[in-house]
């Protein structure tokens, strides 16, 4: 968004007029400020996940004589969903490239593909959780499973929120096209999506690779 599109935005969230130099219509400032604010939000989200990871690591052996992760978790499904999520990060990257080219249809198409991949990831996760519950492991089984469901579930909840947000954004793009405001919004959701991908890599490594295999 540093090199924002030159089309004047009719309406945009903003007010800090003229801050930081010559131009008095503060929309460049406003949009870049929102992106900066979102980076800070991501820092707080890192702490949030960090706390959940710490909790999981502390409680990873506390199965209270009940089932362990290694006994119940099917790695095949996890590996598939990992590839799906990684691919969705790639497609969201393509969406941003299309946006920078000014191709509205390509942008919406690649966002839709990203959302579909995200939805399949959630579908697989829900299936996995149902499978685990049938096998006798739920959030109240032991401290290990409490930490497992909370950490993995919080990531899943983040992805689901991202899906709703992405759909809302596609509708806005269809109506308003690529403006500095929608451009900033796409950039932010793509940041969010990559961030969730990085978190998933840690989930995959710590919860599944180190804990199960």
């Amino acid at each position: 968004m540093a090199n924002a599109v030159s089309t004047p935005a009719g309406a945009h969230g903003g007010h800090g007029a003229g801050h930081g130099g010559g131009h008095h219509d503060g929309h460049h400032d406003q949009e870049s400020m929102k992106t900066f604010g979102f980076w800070l939000f991501l820092i707080t989200d890192v702490i949030l996940f960090g706390t959940l990871f710490a909790t999981f690591v502390v409680l990873r052996l506390n199965t209270d004589g009940g089932p362990t992760g290694a006994e119940l978790i099917e790695m095949n499904g996890i590996i598939i969903s990992t590839f799906i999520l990684l691919t969705s990060s790639f497609t969201s990257g393509i969406a941003v490239l299309e946006m920078n080219k000014g191709n509205k249809r390509g942008l919406i198409l690649w966002l839709a593909i990203t959302a579909l991949l995200g939805a399949s990831f959630i579908y697989l996760e829900v299936t996995e959780f149902i499978h685990l519950v049938h096998e006798g492991a739920n959030i109240g089984t032991s401290a290990y499973w409490s930490a497992f469901f909370t950490l993995v579930g919080t990531h899943g909840l983040h992805v689901s929120v991202g899906l709703v947000w992405m759909i809302a954004l596609m509708l806005q793009l269809r109506r308003r096209g690529i403006t500095p405001v929608t451009k900033r919004k796409v950039n932010i959701i793509s940041l969010y999506w990559h961030f969730l991908d990085v978190v998933w890599i840690f989930v995959f490594t710590i919860v599944y690779l180190m804990g199960v295999m």
Partner: protein, 656 residues
Amino acid sequence: MLDKIKDFASEFFVTGDPLILGAQVSIALSLVAILFVLTYFKKWKWLWTEWLTSVDHKKIGIMYIIASILMLFRGGVDALLMRVQLAVPEVEFLNAEHYNQIFTTHGVIMILFMAMPLMFGLFNIVVPLQIGARDVAFPFLNSLSFWMFFFGAMLFNVSFIIGGSPDAGWLAYPPLSQLSGSPGLGQDFYIWGIQISGIGSLATGINFVVTILKMRAPGMKLMQMPMFVWSVLSSCITIMFAFPILTVTLFLLFLDRYLGAHFFTLDGGGNPMMYINLIWMWGHPEVYIVILPAFGIFSEIVSAFSKKKLFGYKSMVFALMSISFFSFFTWAHHFFTMGSGANVNAFFALTTMLIAIPTGVKVFNWLFTMYRGRITFPTPMMWTVAFIPCFVVGGMTGVLLSVAPADFQFHNSYFLIAHFHQVLIGGVVFGYFAGLYYWWPKMFGFRLHEGLGKWAFWFWNIGFYVCFMPQYALGLMGMTRRVNEYNFDMGWQPLNVISTVGAFLMGAAFIFQVWQIAHSIKFYKKEKDGDAWDGRTLEWSIPSPAPLYNFARLPQVTHQDDWWEEKQRITAGEPAKPLAPLEPIHMPKNSGIPFIMSVCWFTAGFGFVWDWKWMIIPGLIGVAVCMLIRSFSYDTDYYIPVDEIERTEAALRGTK
């Protein structure tokens, strides 16, 4: 049918205590009175358009301050009730259960619903004015933060009359705070009240970091910012790193209670000590979050009333930042007795001692600022001067507590109680009072009566020492915290009686302050000049109270204490900075979404407390819908035309 309603009501409302019954009746009466006044004077529309939907940082700041003063009253009444019980332990004024509830709510309210909002109120009013900005970075989010805080606080407070208060201590250690230890609803009110307001605090932290880093007036370098702005920056960075931990910790406790998870339970492999570690990883930075801005306020005041530039500006900045860093590495000193071993305890003892060093640096900086200054003593300066010795003693007793082997003795005794009240009252409360007195003319455009302010000052200070000095002794005599009775032969009663007298002196001081405000409103005298104290920083360069857009022209900053330098130049006969032509000002539109969304959060939280799905689901859907509506609205701002700015400025400056 009638019986069913009766059963429900007796479960819904807290019954069987005359004190609480009295409170219920008076709350109901005052609610009716407020509704009546608003309707009779046709003020509903005014309330909605001018306040509830406002995104103006100055109004949001004022609402924060009003809420925090109400909470100070409630927390103060809690304190007085406890002190009465401890002065006459043989009379059962408060039974054990009631006493537990009161020390719990006293702690939560004073830290989270009094100190935090008072701090946010001052952030809101002062920071944009000091950096020469027209609002905060995200005014909509700012309004949302306030209403999340407000409804979170209300959810917590409502437990007093509906459902029952929490009684597991202000940090709700498990297993006591688990369903097994606290089967009642109080603990659920605790979780949701703090959770909802905590999210608001987190958003405020982000908001002000962006505001300070991105919205300073043209020319203002970081190292030219007023010290209060630096302290807000360090405090908000600390908020950003600490509050997510609180969110997670409360969420895990909620899962334990609501879904039967085993994070902190004694069975199922849970680990209660993990909660205690996590809550203090937030809790220790939290006390620095509230004290750092107080340091900033003192720095402003010392410099303004000594008519000198702040001594050691760079070392002050360094001290603030290093305190905010080290505050994350001291948490285990709250439970040296956990049994984590000598090395771990030694580490946390050392970091705790280390953090006293930057604090000491600041004290010397304030003293050197005063040295050879032309000092005057209006109320803000009195609070500042009173703070220094008080905080030094409080800090030194903190260093005593940090000595791990000694702490095994002091731990959970009245020595600790006296220590943290001394830093929190002597530091935080005195600091915010000083700030409130200092910036009051800027907020409202009139001054507070100095004489009554001095009475309040002396009552607060004398009351403080009479109340808390005996508690150090009581702690060394073996009196532990959170007891509501003790035997006469322990020999604790005389000191407890003295302490109670001190508490009532502070209560009287509060009445003086209310009187002071009422008196000053009655004999309202408009400030002619925006520069009430011959100040140094930008907020004093504009009229009081500041117009909606704060600065008609954004100031061009060239110096630290830019307004002071400008005044010096004018006195020396040099030409003032040339005025740029006025331009239309870009402003955010008011929005009702933050209020409505917070009501939805309140609904969902209340539903979770009672496990009423018919409230949880609509509440959460409401939150989501509010967010989507906001995402789809693009018409969120407007311009103030030049002629309107000219009219406003002429009217404001004309009275000069």
